[in-house]
């Protein structure tokens, strides 16, 4: 054995790899995950706009009309379009993941995944229909 080879006894010389900042581009599923996390920003945006709307409503009819007029500006329309797509992605990905987290056992048997996911979609549909009915009936 040549003399310049020496083993570090009981203490291997590990090679440690670093995680690249672009790790989420290495796999489609990672990118999808990051996108799903990103949707929360848009969900928050929707929430803030809704709160703002409530606030305007409290300020009286004039303030409300002003608020609604502002919502109709191209900037807000475009923003809402994008937000809608992201929120849709958010809802669908989370509904599909729900069965993983929620385990319901009926008579000792686990309720199948599609039933749990289906329930989520059903509640979503009913809630959306109710909101649509409330808004569009007048």
């Amino acid at each position: 054995m040549s003399s310049d080879v020496h083993y570090t006894l009981h203490h291997p010389k590990w090679y440690r790899r670093r995680v690249s900042v672009w790790w989420w581009l290495q796999k489609r599923s990672y990118a999808q995950f990051v996108l799903r996390e990103l949707t929360s920003v848009f969900v928050a945006f929707f929430a803030v706009v809704s709160l703002w709307q409530l606030h305007a409503l409290g300020e009286g009819p004039e303030a409300y009309a002003h608020f609604m007029a502002r919502l109709k500006s191209p900037l807000f329309l475009a923003l809402h379009g994008v937000t809608f797509l992201f929120v849709l992605f958010h809802s669908i990905t989370w509904f599909n993941l729900a069965p993983t987290a929620i385990v319901v056992r009926l008579r000792g048997k686990r309720v199948p995944d599609f039933v749990i996911a289906g329930m989520n979609y059903l509640v979503w549909l009913v809630a959306s229909a109710a909101v649509a009915w409330l808004l569009l009936r007048g």
Binding site: S29, F33, A101
Partner: protein, 247 residues
């Protein structure tokens, strides 16, 4: 005509090189060979210095986990024919420090596994005269899936959170904690929750879900962690509403 297939294998010889390199080998292609067979062919016929771990070659021991074409796999469970026409890239498992070639240091996982107390905890033992601890098939069924883990650590190698946040206890250890929580004989759920509610525990998981996809035993560690989170949150609510009731 003897067909062959190329394997690009990651090498790291700490006494010779400062960082890993790639070496390619030409091995015979056989329909019934798994990637591990090809590695053993290299070791026996071409280059005895190549180091890798394996034992059972039948998906039971969990020691042959490596990165094959970028995906964490049990090398005894993936066939050369899955990767035609090649070349097949074989690298050590991601995120773990490399000791040599395809061998990684797993002590971090072993420490974490111990931390979550993966054994049945009893407040007090029954006297022998009272007989065994019984369990119905339904009770067994609630945790059986999580008990199938073979500690192969593929789920760690698939988890970007473990890569970014080395303190994270990680998928398999949490799944095993949940396996004992759900066991009707166990009384240690609170102890484990105390440990896993801390930094590095269940809340570090952001539900990437890759661990479940790569698990060769269908353990569904991602499910275990999310169910654990739900139970943890429910427990926290209960202790908030009924501070004297929840223990």
């Amino acid at each position: 005509m003897a067909e062959t297939i190329t394997l690009s294998v990651a090498r790291y010889r700490p006494e010779e090189e400062a960082e890993p390199t790639v070496q390619t080998y030409e091995v015979p292609y056989r329909k019934d060979w798994v990637v591990l067979d090809a590695l053993n062919y290299i070791k026996d016929q071409l280059d005895g210095s190549l180091s890798f771990r394996w034992s059972c070659r039948m998906g039971v021991c969990g020691s042959c986990g490596m990165t094959v074409n970028g995906e964490p796999k049990l090398t005894c469970a993936v066939f050369l024919s899955d990767y035609l026409p090649g070349p097949i890239r074989v690298e050590p498992l991601q995120y773990f420090p490399i000791v040599r070639d395809l061998v990684v240091d797993i002590s971090d996982f072993l420490e974490k596994l111990q931390k979550v107390k993966p054994w049945i905890i009893l407040k007090e033992e029954k006297p022998l005269s009272e007989g065994e601890y019984r369990q119905t098939p339904d009770q067994l069924d609630t945790y059986k899936q999580f008990s199938m883990c073979i500690n192969c650590m593929l789920c760690y190698a698939a988890c970007p959170i473990y890569g970014l946040e080395p303190g994270f206890v990680g998928p398999a250890a949490i799944a095993l904690a949940q396996r004992y929580n759900l066991d009707s004989r166990d009384m240690g759920a609170q102890e484990r929750l105390d440990i896993l509610s801390q930094k590095g525990g269940i809340w570090d998981c952001t539900f990437v879900g890759e661990c479940t996809k790569v698990c060769p035993e269908n353990v569904d560690p991602a499910g275990a962690i999310q169910q654990y989170k739900l139970a943890g949150a429910a427990h926290w609510f209960k202790s908030l509403l009924l501070p004297w009731g929840a223990k």
